[in-house]
Symmetry: C2
Subunit: 286 residues, 2 copies
Amino acid sequence: MSHFADQLLESVAAKAAPVCVGLDPVLAKLPDPVRRAADSDLDAIATFSLGVVEAVAPHVPCVKIQSACYERFGEVGVAVYHRVAAMAREAGLLVIGDAKRGDIGVTAEHYAVAGLDPVDALTINSYFGRDGIEPFCKHADATGKGLFALVRTSNPGGDAIQSLQLADGRTVAQAVGALMAELGEPYVGDSGYSLLGAVVGATKPGDAAALRKIMPKQIFLVPGFGAQGGGADDVRACFNTDGRGAIITASRSVIYAFAGGDAAQWQSSVQQAAVDLCQQVGAILA
Amino acid sequence: MSHFADQLLESVAAKAAPVCVGLDPVLAKLPDPVRRAADSDLDAIATFSLGVVEAVAPHVPCVKIQSACYERFGEVGVAVYHRVAAMAREAGLLVIGDAKRGDIGVTAEHYAVAGLDPVDALTINSYFGRDGIEPFCKHADATGKGLFALVRTSNPGGDAIQSLQLADGRTVAQAVGALMAELGEPYVGDSGYSLLGAVVGATKPGDAAALRKIMPKQIFLVPGFGAQGGGADDVRACFNTDGRGAIITASRSVIYAFAGGDAAQWQSSVQQAAVDLCQQVGAILA
């Protein structure tokens, strides 16, 4: 069975693009033609999601699908989430389920099964500590899947907890990062990276550089590029010196790239934005 | 519109029982008659869940339904979760959705709608900080619902993060608690308690006592009584001196009370265990 980190890094190399498109569709922002042709709000979300997948699949190695955008519609929304994930995988994309689940013991096992089985990797919350992470790792290891644990989120309010300074001089995020490095150690693949990766927001370069040292074997899933304000320095700090180890995620700047332009051609705009994203990140790393 | 904390404390007073039954059914532990009569695994979970609700509704003010146990079955499981929640509310119970969701901005709004609308209150993860909590508070305030943010979880592994000592002498959990007290302040009801409560595990009395001082206006949702090892001292420390402010949750010790006995009479055993739970907690507080 393949190892998620190996698989992801192979796909990144094949497409020469350590990037991910975030799919978090909100009804009000969908292209007019999609909304007009849809039977329902959820139908519009589904059509748009599948259209984005189709547009970006040739260019990027993976997509991150925001579970909340579908869960909002109840069980029928969950069904659409599963359908979009399945179509993306069929299109050759690795799919990260962005569900940020977290619990302990048998409950964590339930979330691991429910969250991981329809996708290739899952975002998880780290606040429960060791026994909140291990059940996810075990299921991921048994099924060839991956995980990204929240370490440093990209929102300004995250400072209130994650940037608190500990008595030993570290920040809370650094302590969480060290725990993830330890818990991920048994699950390192041939690529040198663990199936347990980390979410590290690209909004504070100093943060990312320190976390990079603490977690050399974690792949960083990096939200916050583009719309949330992350820039070139922030992005560079997330990679190891070998140019590997991070996946830069952009969402709104890609999936709503048609805004203000020709909505009828929305898929072309999304495709072009995905190509541009790959080039921007490539230029930063060159 | 009623305020969740006021409503919960009224119901606690009416039933003279600051307790909650946790509903987290696992197939292997269900009564044989329920499993044999069911068309499917999910059907067995549904029948059992509704039977527990019926058995405990006359005795306790609220139930906590573990979302993961239903999500595990995909979208049809989510539908059963909604059905169980609706039946419990019809039976006069306040329903806490134990989903531990967490995210920021518009994603948090989606989770607030998806998570809160089918229930009376929702557990949420606090690691995102301020802008991960506020969207949930706004939706709860607008709809008369409540929240319980994770502050100190009952699992031993939680220490690795939550018990870390800060440079200012507090633990991480205490800093998180202080943030929740601040964020909950605008949402205090007539009872003197905020719609934003806190999950505080009943496994370390010293922890609970310190957190009680930091969060005088938060209702504590206290897991860990019974099966997880929490005892009388731990429970007492979670209440304010007026005898209010905490809800003691027991799950396995109530819903599997029939184990080893007469499975045909499982509902009576569950009912008796709920009555016993109320008496145990009452005796501790007397």
